[in-house]
Structure formats: structure tokens, C-alpha cells
Amino acid sequence: MGERKIRVLISKPGLDGHDRGAKVIARALRDGGMEVIYSGIRQTPEQIVATAVQEGVDVVGLSCLSGAHNQLFPEVVKLLRKQGGDDILVIGGGIIPYDDIPYLTKAGIKAVFQPGTPTDEIITFIKDNVGKSH
């Protein structure tokens, strides 16, 4: 048996339906050798955390283009911690102003990727950071 594949949940919290980025990332991570679950759009933080725990993922990737990231991303981290998912790596992307990144990082989003980020960069980040204590 080979090495266990990294398991990733890609999800879209909130009401935003712009899923091009989420789908591209899901596919790129899968082609990069990871096991990827894509939840689809309009997920509540509660639903995302339930899926993450149930599926035993190593990484949660959040995508939001509606501007609601400051409320929704930290809520996912908070609920994950409550449910013992402290070791899950949470990353995010979307239409996110530079000014919001320090706040999100402080709230436990380990990386925020802006438009134009090469998918390889995200794959490398996940491989370098997954499984480390968060």
C-alpha cells in the first residue's frame, strides 16, 4: 500500500455561487495526487465542519467571492476547533482585499490565495503545511 493520500474538502461558504475557482482548484489538487471532496455552493460553516469531520479530511479550502469572507472563514475555524478538528489545515481564496488578510490569518486561516495564484503554489503550500499542528 502506498502513502495515504492527502484528503481535501473544497467548499463554498455563504450564498456566493461563483464556483469557477473552487472547481478549478478541486481538479488541480486531484490531478496533484490528493483526494478531493467538493461540497458545492451555499454551505453553512456548520455543514462544512460536519463534512470535514465526517470525511476525515486533512485540509479545508474555502472559496468566497461575495465579500462575506471575514465572517464566514473564521467561523469555520472556530467550529472546527470546537469539534476537535484543530489539526485540519484551513486555507482560503476568492475576492479578498489585502487589508483583510492579516485578520484572516490571525483567525486561523493559514493562507489566503488571491486571483492569479498558480495552482502549483497551492499544492506546494498544502504539502508543506499539512499535518503540522495548527
Partner: protein, 557 residues
């Protein structure tokens, strides 16, 4: 005039002599040159490419079937396209100020961006709306907000486009109610509701009800509008979001027109005569980077729709054949890197839309890879349109690229490839089926992934992103929506709920429920409900109860 044989002869000679020598000295940049739709571009197009084509049949004249050269006989020599910047954020109060500013700056029409709760039929205090209120558009909960949004904007003078789909009937009803309060008769209202639910399932995501019930709402709107709102565009069949989700130009045309066919079929099935509503159908496309392909795309779409309406549906009125469209420059082409370069991208895209004969245009702002545009950025975007209109001279003769061997040939190829898609969709049982089975979504996602890979493999150069990059200081001069907006909106909503005649609301919602259970047109009871200050959430919930909700099946291929 030289004969075909002599052109052919000369072409052969050129290839064997001048061209051959040049290629021996230095090869071309690439083995082949393709558009986003995989159309192979020839080195040079000549009269040989237009051989045997019937000019009146393929091109015709402006304002006449098949409208390849434009829908109006004088196009921009008569009047320019409508300059219509899509705008909306925070509260109705703040957005009203932005509209007033844009109109003062010479904008000629309004375009309302609603926040997601408004688009998906939730009141601002619904638990699912945390963080979303006033974020990507203006928050509207009740008629009160619409009154504020259009305060001191004369609805008999300005045309208004509203990007609203699942809740289009409610927002249209509110607009009518505001007009009534301003003393403007409904038959004078000009504007558009997007009202295109099929592309919401396929690409944009703000659906509520299942397809069948959504189509009923749409045909009810068509029917109501033909009697009461003769100048209103009852739908804006949208390729823009399909394109933004990643499709090619050909897919954009094909899926949009396939959706258009589905709406026409639904309306005919609901008992409407095709010529009674077809003239009020409008379209909305994106305009991307590949300049010639985009111009050709608009020309092809016009010709295809004219033929579909006349030949497939037997429409008799010329207005039923016309594809009138709004264009927006492509948001997905804006880069977060070196954002000022976006001003240039937008200018070229806007020029392509004008050369393609658009009826109205939104130009994106340079900062939209980060947030909604700042006032300064949106002013540059509007000025870009004004420069094209007043300085470039391209509007002074109609369809100036018509007759270009290249543009005409690409127009033809886009039409051929898009027709192939439409035939495939017909075989699947139409657009609704093609969406329910995930066909359109899969095709779009494949194209999006290919595009991303091309950028990452440097097969496609995006200036400032994967070539000509620099170290940059973060761009932070952007529009921010205060978190207090949500609280303010909730308080305003509570005040409305406290002050209205709740009996009137309950009665109106009961009437709506009965209409939804039966076949009565939904518009009159919705109008009665919003006039009594029923909220978007309340009206949508009544329909949710009767119609149910759509659930998406997502597959990553």
C-alpha cells in the same frame, strides 16, 4: 474585377515566393494560432474565404434580417449605446448616492446590483445571510428600500436594468410600485430584469426553485409585461456568467441561445403567441480579450438568433428576430497583479463590444479583482466608454469590420460551431435537460480548467501575471462595506415590519399562495404583497412552500 482563379493563382505565387522566403529566414511564433474556441486562425484571409457567399443572405443591411450588421438602421450614427455601469452596495441610501453621482458624470442608464440575500429571497436578518448583507450589491428587504434606492431618480426618464433572477418577479413588482408612487404610468417604464434562471443553474448559482416552477414564474412575467409593461425587457438571456464561469466564446453563444430557445418554447407552451413576447427578449454577453473573435461572436449571435426566431419559431415581426444585447467587459480577465493594466484591458474589450454592435455597455473597473469598485475607478471605467464614443470615431460608420475577410470568416466559424452545440442540446431534449444532466456545467468547467492550465504552462501570456511581473506594493485603495450595514439594515427591516398593516400582508400572501397552487398569474398577487410592504423573504417563502427548492448535484470531472 479579378476572377477567383487569378486570386487563387496570385495566392499560390505569394506562398511559393515571398512567404516561403520569409519562413525560411525565421519561423512564425507558433505552429498554429487558435482563438479561445479552438478556431484555427489562418495566416491571412483573402477573397477566397468569402467565395460563393450570398451577401444579402449572410450579412444584409443594418436594421434588417438577419441583422449581422446591427439591429438598428443607423446604429451609433443615430445614438450611442447606453452607458450603464452595474452598481450597488451597502444600503439603498448609499447606492442612491452612487447612482446620482454616475448620472451626473454622464452615465445614461442605471444597472442595479443586489446583494445575495435579495437575489436568493432571504430577508437581511435570516441566519444564512450573516456577512452577506450589502456586500456584493445593495440590500433590499421591502418596498421601503426600493423607494430610497430610486429617490429623486425619475423613472420615466431613466432606464433601469436589474440583475435579478429567482426573485425577479418581486423586484419588478417593487419597481412598478415605486413608479406608481412617482406618478409614472407603467407603460412608460423602460428597463430590464435579468430573469434568466437557466444560467443560474448552469453557472451563477442564485436559484431558489426547481426548473419547472422557475419557468412558470418567468412565463408569468412575460405574460404580465406584455399587457402592462410594453417597453420593458422581460428577460436578459445571459451568456456573461457562462463565460465568466470559464466557457469559450462559442460555448457562450451556443448555451445562451439554447437557453433562449428554452424560454421561447416555455412561453409558447404556456399559450403565448411568439410575436407577443419575443420582441421584449434581450441578451447579455461578456466581452473577453481575443479582439477579433469577440467582434465576430456578436455578429454571429445576431444572425443565429434571427434565423432561429424566424425559421424555427415562425416569428413574423422583425422585432421578434432581433438580438438586442448588453455587454460587460470580462471580470475574469482582470488581474490582481498590476491592477492599472486592467484599464487597458477593459478599453480593448469595450472597443470590441462597440465594434460588435452592442446596445449597452458596462466597463469594469481596474480594482475589481479585490472588491467592488471605488468611485475613482468607476469614473475611469465610464470615461473609457466616453472616449470610445466621442474620440475614436468607430461609431461613425456601421459595423466597420463587416467585410473583413478575417472577421467574416470567424463569424461564420463561430456560427457553425455554436450550431453544432445547439443540435447536441436539442438531441438531449433542450437546455433544461442539458443543465439538469450537468452537460453545460461540465463543458464550462473543462474550458475553465484548460484556460488555467494554459496560463500556468505559459501557453497563454497574461501581462503582469505570468510574464512581465514585478514586485508590487499591495493595492489597498478600495471600497469597503462597513459591518454596521448589516445591523442598520436589520433595524430598518424591523421598523417596516412594525409599521405596516400586517393584516393586509397576510391577506396578500394568502392570495399569492393560492395563485401558486393554481395557474393564476403570480404577478398581481406579488404586486399587492409588496405594496403592502411584504418582505422579499416572506414572498419567497410562500413560493418555497409550494414550489420546493432546487438542489444542485456537483461532480468534479
Amino acid at each position: 474585377m479579378k476572377s477567383k482563379d487569378s486570386v487563387q493563382e496570385e495566392y499560390g505565387r505569394w506562398e511559393e515566393t515571398t512567404l516561403k522566403k520569409a519562413l525560411e529566414r525565421s519561423p512564425e511564433r507558433r505552429e498554429s494560432f487558435k482563438t479561445t474556441s479552438d478556431i484555427d486562425l489562418k495566416r491571412v484571409y483573402t477573397p477566397l474565404d468569402r467565395e460563393g457567399l450570398d451577401y444579402p443572405k449572410e450579412s444584409g443591411f443594418p436594421g434588417e434580417y438577419p441583422f449581422t450588421r446591427g439591429v438598428r438602421p443607423t446604429m451609433y450614427r443615430g445614438r450611442f449605446w447606453t452607458m450603464r455601469q452595474y452598481a450597488g452596495f451597502a444600503t439603498a441610501e448609499e447606492t442612491n448616492r452612487r447612482y446620482t453621482y454616475l448620472l451626473e458624470q454622464g452615465q445614461t442608464g442605471l444597472s442595479v446590483a443586489f446583494d445575495l440575500p435579495t437575489q436568493i429571497g432571504y430577508d437581511s436578518d435570516h441566519p444564512l445571510c450573516t456577512g452577506e448583507v450589502g456586500k456584493c450589491g445593495v440590500a433590499i428587504d421591502s418596498l421601503k428600500d426600493m423607494e430610497i434606492l430610486f429617490n429623486e431618480i425619475p423613472l420615466d426618464k431613466v432606464s433601469t436594468s436589474m440583475t435579478i433572477n429567482a426573485t425577479a418577479a418581486i423586484l419588478l413588482a417593487m419597481y412598478c410600485a415605486v413608479a406608481e408612487k412617482q406618478g409614472v404610468p407603467l407603460d412608460q417604464l423602460r428597463g430590464t430584469i435579468q430573469n434568466d434562471i437557466l444560467k443560474e443553474y448552469a453557472a451563477r448559482g442564485t436559484y431558489i426553485y426547481p426548473p419547472k416552477e422557475s419557468m412558470r414564474i418567468i412565463t408569468d412575467i412575460f405574460s404580465f409585461s406584455k399587457d402592462h409593461l410594453p417597453q420593458w425587457n422581460t428577460i436578459s438571456i445571459s451568456g456573461y456568467h457562462i463565460r465568466e464561469a470559464g466557457s469559450s466564446a462559442v460555448q457562450e453563444v451556443a448555451f445562451t441561445l439554447a437557453n433562449g430557445i428554452a424560454y421561447v418554447e416555455a412561453a409558447i407552451e404556456a399559450g403565448l403567441d411568439v410575436d407577443s413576447f419575443a420582441g421584449r427578449l434581450s441578451f447579455f454577453f461578456g466581452v473577453h480579450n481575443n479582439f477579433l473573435e469577440e467582434i465576430a461572436k456578436f455578429r454571429a449571435a445576431r444572425r443565429m438568433w434571427a434565423r432561429i426566431m424566424r425559421e424555427r419559431f415562425g416569428a413574423k415581426r422583425p422585432t421578434s428576430w432581433m438580438l438586442r444585447f448588453h455587454t460587460q467587459t470580462a471580470g475574469c480577465t482582470l488581474t490582481a497583479q498590476q491592477p492599472d493594466n486592467n484599464v487597458v484591458r477593459v478599453a480593448f474589450q469595450a472597443l470590441a463590444a462597440v465594434l460588435g454592435g452592442t446596445q449597452s455597455l458596462h466597463t469594469n473597473s481596474r480594482d475589481e479583482a479585490f472588491a467592488l469598485p471605488s468611485e475613482e475607478s468607476v469614473t475611469i471605467a465610464l470615461r473609457t466608454q466616453q472616449i470610445i464614443a466621442h474620440e475614436s470615431g468607430v461609431g461613425d460608420t456601421i459595423d466597420p469590420l463587416g467585410g473583413s475577410y478575417a472577421v467574416e470568416t470567424i463569424t461564420q466559424e463561430i456560427e457553425n460551431k455554436a450550431l453544432e452545440y445547439i443540435h447536441r442540446i436539442d438531441e438531449m431534449g433542450g437546455a433544461t435537460k442539458a443543465i439538469e444532466s450537468g452537460f453545460m456545467q461540465g463543458e464550462i468547467a473543462d474550458s475553465a480548467y484548460r484556460y488555467q492550465k494554459e496560463i500556468e504552462q505559459q501557453k497563454r501570456i497574461i501581462v503582469g501575471l505570468n510574464e512581465f511581473t514585478i514586485e508590487e506594493t499591495p493595492f489597498t485603495d478600495i471600497l469597503k462595506i462597513s459591518p454596521e450595514v448589516e445591523q442598520y439594515q436589520k433595524e430598518k427591516l424591523n421598523t417596516v415590519r412594525g409599521q405596516r398593516d400586517s393584516r393586509k400582508v397576510t391577506d396578500a400572501l394568502d392570495r399569492l399562495k393560492k395563485a401558486a397552487q393554481g395557474t393564476e398569474n403570480l404577478m398581481p398577487p406579488i404586486l399587492a404583497a409588496v405594496k403592502g410592504y411584504a418582505t422579499i423573504g416572506e414572498v419567497s417563502d410562500v413560493l418555497r412552500e409550494i414550489f420546493g427548492e432546487h438542489k444542485e448535484h456537483t461532480v468534479i470531472t
